[in-house]
């Protein structure tokens, strides 16, 4: 068993990425992502990889795209503000089928729409994993490198300042998630002059001597691919939802706090439970539906104006049972969560919401 190491989320993500075979990283500093860039800068060369402090986010993501197209396990990242700059490139990677892991070490939970709806062009989706703590971040990082290659697509890890800066004892062990498809598409030069040279292109028209599916065929196939991903890759965790009168839906760090509150409420006789989407996309709708089947109230707690709320509205068993108990809450620095991310505050909001239907007094 690997030894315990006391690592913050940025350092843990670096070690996990290296364990998963990542050998190229390019990014631009922005809090709280900066620690990840710095630890990659220190550790990747030690592992035989390359880390470039790119001169802009757009350059960084395109460097990662090139590295991945040439066959390296590549990653980039930023916080949501920088991921905003990368939207075109993320769409490009989805549509030219280049596997890259994108770390959104976000400042809060306000990037849910950015991850799950995307701001690029075309019909594409990005698998997004939202860990609740640093040990899970380690697992998700390794799984994302596998998912990226399994589906030849850009994938996102949704982190936050708590994950980035909290140091936790974790073990980093290599993990095997299963077989991967052939890498016969990568650009290594060997196709040159053979009549069968390779091409990575969103329009996928191929070479005149070896035509490809073209934009219609390519983009329809990719849409079908993401449909298949949506069926195959949903992940969620249901905690004490059987016979729960109140089910609270939360993701990431927020879910950690909600779980604590639920444990407290249960010890006081209040039948509460937690539904935690682990994949923000594909959203685990059917599992949510089952988890909320018997709930009198479905409370949505997220640190934003209501983004996952849209997905809960789509899937909860009873839409009328939904109440939003989250909100925008920002620290005075602007860089992390504000006072709403606190177990006592959450507890009070649950009790207040529950009082409406008499579930809590």
């Amino acid at each position: 068993m690997a030894e315990l190491q006391l690592l913050d989320g940025c350092t843990a993500a670096t070690e996990a990425a290296i364990a998963a075979g990542c050998r190229f990283f390019a990014g631009y500093p922005m809090s709280p992502f900066t620690g990840l860039l710095e630890s990659m800068s220190r550790r990747l060369p030690q592992a035989g990889g390359i880390c470039i402090n790119a001169e802009s986010e757009i350059e960084g993501v395109n460097m990662a795209l090139g590295a991945a197209a040439a066959g390296a396990r590549a990653a980039t990242g930023s916080c949501g503000q920088g991921i905003a700059l990368m939207q075109e490139a993320i769409a490009e990677m989805a549509l030219n089928e280049t596997p890259v892991v994108v770390f959104n070490m976000a400042r809060n939970q306000q990037d849910y729409f950015q991850c799950t709806r995307g701001g690029g062009w075309g019909d594409y989706r990005t698998i997004t994993l939202a860990p609740k703590d640093v040990p899970e971040l380690v697992e998700h990082t390794q799984r994302l490198f596998w998912l990226a290659e399994r589906y030849r697509a850009p994938v996102i890890l949704y982190g936050d300042p708590i994950l980035a800066q909290t140091q936790v004892g974790v073990r980093i062990e290599p993990r095997d998630y299963g077989p991967l498809p052939s890498r016969d598409w990568i650009l290594d030069g060997s196709g040159g002059g053979t009549g069968k040279s390779r091409q990575v292109w969103t329009w996928a028209m191929g070479k005149v001597t070896n035509p490809g599916p073209g934009p219609d065929g390519q983009w329809r196939a990719i849409a079908e691919k993401f449909d298949a991903v949506a069926q195959a890759e949903q992940q969620s965790e249901s905690y004490l939802v059987d016979e729960a009168e109140i089910v609270i839906v939360a993701f990431g760090t927020a879910a950690l706090f909600v779980t604590h509150v639920v444990d407290e409420l249960r010890s006081e006789g209040i039948r509460a439970g937690v539904f935690r989407p682990i994949t923000l996309w594909p959203f685990p709708g059917p599992a949510l539906r089952e988890a909320t089947r018997n709930a009198r109230m479905v409370l949505v707690y997220e640190l934003n104006a209501g983004q996952m709320l849209d997905d809960v509205r789509q899937w909860a068993y009873d839409r009328d049972a939904i109440r939003f108990i989250g909100g925008v809450s920002i620290h005075t620095s602007g860089l992390t969560y504000g006072p709403l991310l606190d177990a006592r505050v959450i507890r009070q909001r649950v009790l207040d919401a529950g009082a409406e239907t008499g579930v809590t007094t």
């Binding site: 050998r23 090139g66 030069g189 002059g193 040279s197 292109w201 028209m205 191929g206 070479k207």
Partner: protein, 262 residues
Amino acid sequence: MTELPVVDTSSPPAEATLAARSHPDLILGEHGLCPGCGEPVALRLLLEVLQDLDVVSRAIGVVGHGCYGSFVQIMDVDVLQCLHGRAPSCATGIKRVRPGSVVFTLQGDGDMVNEGLQEVLHTAARGENVTCVLLNNGVFGDTGGQQTATTVLGQRTKTSLQGRDASTHGYPIAIADLVAALSGVAYVARGAVSTPAAVMHTKKLLRSAFEHQLAGEGFSLVEILTMCPTGWFVPAGDGPGYLEQSMEAEYPLGELALRSRS
């Protein structure tokens, strides 16, 4: 009265067909660009240089967006077609993870000097061992002929109908000069494909650039002035002459002196 022979025009003459169909191994088919376009000439030179240097089986190209973008379908080398302006960044990623490969970009002036100005400058300053090839015709050909950052003063485009005027449209950017002023740069040259002599000279410049890459000496840029009679609103045959008069004055041909060598 003299009997004139009737010329059979039901199909091109054999010689023309032969000329159209014979192409270097690395060009897989005919291009679909305008008559008089200089870009296919530049492509052919680039691929011939790769062959002459015997690096075809480790060559990886990154092609931007423009009329030349269609070359990804007819060039028999491994290629990535990338986002407008971003080719030097993609090339960086490729070369860093495959240092034994020979990496080039193929970009128009709109791609490299408009959208991708910071990419090419940063890649040059980092001294990345890649060769960027700029096809400079001073116009956005693919979108119908708008002004770019290299459009020369007086040039008429769809967005500078009376001719580019400094007070309204600002000045053109000589990207090769900017790159030549950066440390980390091994070779910068400017050629043209307007005359047979210019074509031969440009081939030598390309070869020098790739030789610098192979020697690991840093970033190389070859700017190739190409004719765009359609974008310039001149007859196809007038392209070369127009290029010489309008562009070569602004963008003198030859190898540029480098800061890194001074």
